[in-house]
Homo-oligomer: 580 residues x 2
């Protein structure tokens, strides 16, 4: 069910009811962009570095649609009841945010209705903004300054004033039953408005002159009241109503957070960051701060992309983009019985007839939820009927871990615990002249083929041997390579000194900031990499966002002037990753 | 006629023809926003200060629609022939710009079709960007690195490779006449694409494997060629075609600039800045630099808002917002005969039937052009038929002056000459504690009533006596005021020392940077203020963008926490000025 500002108030009670009954809620967000060009992901980003990139995305871009599918398990019937809501989001009036024109084009091509968005999108406020507004309301007088009549000399204005006074006199007479007199905006110049708000307002007791709320014609209404108290009560009610209206969509999220209902998303890092920034609090500066805030705010989170990268799914399902994953799971695995919540609720059905369109936040949330129940049901095997999937013991491994895209060796961010510390000791770091291309690098590293190149800028890159080499062999090769290095080229191993500056925070982090890897964590990481490792290395041969021809890439910082092979630019139409 | 990327190529020759024949062209632009919240206009902004605010708007926000109405005068028939084009604009792929959600809502309410915009908007490049792209093209090899086959172990990939090879073998056989083989994007994982671009490409001579251009399904096409030369020629042609495509809408503007055809707009400062930044060169940092660049780049410009503020129009037409101005002019003055250009051209007609909708850039351009010819015809009197209005001697006064909104005493920016230097010697500058409100200020200045307050921040404001006072009387009052000043309040006259920091550039400008006012300039300024002065003071009693109730205003820098009267916040739905 699509929810707009016209229908929100009416639907909210039933949304509350479904949230209260839900075992878990699947979510999806659509945004006005993914990242600025200076925030391109690098496959060897440290988690802190990556957080800063996604944090900026959550801060800068707009959140324009949020999908939510509630799932409720009925054990007797062994059936999952679901209802889907798709909220069009406008935010706070006058908010200036960023958009990426390619992202919007991508959404438009996928049927996103921008006209509906801009006309009917819902407001929202972060909890912080709401508190601020409330505090500011309480400090403000109910009304602005008393009206101060303006001197009128011009004939037209004199005439307007006289005619309006006649109208208002009629309206104010005790035998006139109407409460409101409306003056059309099209007849009003700025000065005429001034006369209304000052000269007319000063002339009568217990009236209120104001712009008609939510009227694009900018009409002005005059209200009369029986007493000063009635007038004050009206103004207080209006103020409260306005704030409630401004909170809008946040009412929904607040309910979810209050209930601490588990959330399920697909490749959901950006969805979570947008949700947090827009409806909870401004995103903090560092990952560690963010993790601390998540712990005290968000419910448990599961990322279906991460589950799908593990066995048995990763062997059968090569593409984990949501739409493909969903259709593969529906085809090859056996979703449990699913039914739309009884009553006037709406959702989607599995299969052709009940399908929505991908990249509609509502349908994406639905597909995510169905993928989740289907995968966890599979993991639970024959016992699946006994409890809702959300209570499966198999989920412990995935709780609060969100998938990390475009990373060479860090599969996820652990939102509430310690993170994977990858072993990068066999990665070569190369500084080279700006004229160097991938061919030159391949030449220098010919004895190590196959290698993967990850350019950081036009002046530096990483070289990763794809065959398993032990560190001793790497050191041996390093010597040979250094011996054959042309002038101005420097090669070293990742762990060695002369680290590039942006790595320093990560390195210190891996010593002091991150907990030492416990045996359990090492085992868990092994599992997450087990069968996936082969697939992971395939996946990272190219970035998921650039499954295009080996085009001429553009590098951050080199202004597109330089030529390097094996780049990370998408030469296709849309710079939008698979799973968005 | 609406022009999108689907129709552009076809329509361009006729647009060229009309531009070449036009006597002048009326223009209008729609943008994704007007200003960031930290760029609010202040009525006493110096021109340099104001330029920086509008410059940032031109740099930050998106240009999404451009309307253009060509006007050609036929003296024999004493008729103006016109044709209107409305371009939907997308810009350069992957461009990240800002949007103000209120501005987009305003446009959506006025019928703007955002779905069409995002699906079918035209690309554009500034001339500078085009040069850069060209230079970069010439430096790049026609192709990226040679394909390097990937090791295939996984069964699914092996199968894919085998089946594809069979398909390509068939396609490559000499008796197969098709030039292109397309492989649907939906069947391709990232790794399968990699295999196509590397393993398949390496296996055949004279083929080209690439993503199908402009295909959202991300299909891949395989092309075969008779020779390596044919292949190279194809790639070179494609490169050239791509650049031409990217230039898109800029082709139109380039033609206008080459012809130096006069442009007419309504309240056009933002239109001009967007046009310049997006299709010519990045906006320079300072007004003086901008003026220098305008002189060498843009044709003569006329602003109908400025003309409409002068007699005889200002007495008859109180509201100069475009739609009102246009309808008043059509009703009360006598537009010359107007006809749509013969041929397959489209435009609008005067009156009910042929109307478009306001805030459609095409219709706004049309209304602007008609307002222009009607006003200049009026100024020309009985002789109007003798020549096109663009050659009227009455226009000399308005050439290259663009209207300045929300300014207390500077009516326009002169794009190619020296500017008005307002006399601000009778304006009081007040520094006050953050707790001060307008009431406190009115109290302090009670002997000077009526006064106008212009808040700069919560700590400083200007007080302008509305009655005519000579400087001597001002100094006298200043003494009395200072004598009754509470602690922490400082009052001085504008020209005196201890200027606020942001004024310093302006003040020095009025001494050194601006030419001394010549008698002619003084007379001209007087004329522009003559009848308009009364109206101007009315207009500036409130900012045109805040013709609302005397609401509780929010001040820049005080986070909305403080309360002051006479503010510049728009409490209505849209933060969009009249004339946008």
């Amino acid at each position: 069910m699509e929810v707009t500002k016209e229908t929100f108030k009416e639907v909210l009670p039933s949304i509350y009811e479904l949230i209260d009954q839900a075992d878990f809620i699947a979510v999806d967000a659509e945004m006005t962009g993914l990242r600025r060009s200076d925030c391109r992901y690098n496959e060897l980003d440290s988690l802190e570095e990556r957080y800063i990139k996604v944090r900026d995305s959550g801060r800068d871009f707009g959140l324009i649609q949020f999908g939510l599918t509630t799932f409720r398990y009925n054990k007797e019937k062994a059936t999952y009841y679901h209802a889907t809501f798709c909220f069009y989001l406008h935010g706070k009036d006058g908010q200036v945010l960023a958009f990426d024109n390619s992202s919007l084009r991508f959404l438009a091509y996928n049927g996103f209705n921008f006209n509906k968005l801009y006309k009917s999108g819902l407001p929202y406020l972060s909890l912080k903004e709401e508190e601020d507004e409330k505090a500011s309301f309480l400090k403000q007088p109910l009304e602005a300054l008393a009206p101060s009549p303006v001197k009128v000399v011009e004939e037209g204005a004199k005439k307007f004033l006289k005619e309006t006074e006649e109208k208002v006199n009629k309206f104010m007479s005790p035998d006139n039953n109407s409460e409101v007199l409306t003056i059309s905006g099209s007849t009003l110049s700025g000065f005429f408005r001034k006369l209304l708000y000052n000269n007319i307002a000063a002339k009568y007791e217990n009236i209120l002159i104001r712009a008609v709320p939510n009227n694009s014609d900018r009409s002005v209404e005059i209200r009369k009241f029986s007493s000063q108290e009635a007038r004050t009560a009206f103004l207080e009610g209006e103020r409260k109503r306005k704030l409630e209206e401004k909170v809008g969509f946040t009412h929904v999220i607040r309910r979810v957070l209050e209930r601490s209902c588990p959330l399920v998303g697909h490749n959901m890092i950006l969805d979570i960051l947008h949700l947090f920034h827009k409806t909870v609090r401004p995103l903090p500066d560092t990952l560690q701060q963010f993790k601390a805030e998540v712990r005290s705010t968000l419910p448990t989170i599961y990322d279906t992309k991460l589950i799908s990268k593990d066995p048995p799914f990763c062997t059968d399902i090569p593409i984990t983009a949501l739409e493909k994953l969903y259709s593969s799971l529906c085809k090859n695995y056996n979703p449990p019985p699913l039914e739309v919540e009884p009553g006037a609720y709406m959702s989607h059905d599995i299969g052709e007839g009940g399908g929505g369109r991908a990249h509609d936040a509502g349908y994406d949330a639905f597909m995510t939820g169905v993928s989740f129940v289907t995968m966890v049901k599979k993991l639970d095997g024959g016992n699946w009927k006994e409890k809702c999937v959300i209570n499966s013991k198999h989920l412990a491994l995935y709780a609060n871990k969100v998938n990390l895209m475009n990373s060479h060796d860090i599969p996820y961010i652990n939102l509430v615990g310690s993170d994977v510390v990858p072993n990068r000791s066999r990665i070569f770091c190369v500084d080279c002249p700006a004229s160097w291309t991938s061919s030159d690098v391949y030449g220098l590293f010919h004895m190590l083929k196959p290698v993967k190149l990850i350019w950081v800028s036009s002046l530096s890159l990483y070289v990763i041997p794809l065959d398993n080499l032990d560190i001793k062999a790497c050191r041996q090769h390093l010597k040979t390579i250094i011996a054959s290095c042309p002038p101005l080229v420097r090669v070293r191993l990742y762990g060695d000194t002369a680290k590039r500056k942006s790595q320093s925070s990560e390195d210190s982090g891996s010593v002091t900031g991150t907990e030492t890897a416990s045996p359990a964590r090492i085992q868990e990481y092994k599992r997450l990499k087990s069968v996936g490792s082969d697939q992971l290395s395939q996946m990272t041969l190219e970035s998921p966002s650039m499954e295009e021809s080996p085009a001429i890439p553009v590098y951050p910082g080199d202004g597109g002037k330089k030529l390097k092979g094996n780049g990370s630019q998408n030469s296709g139409v849309f710079n939008v990753p698979d799973d968005w």
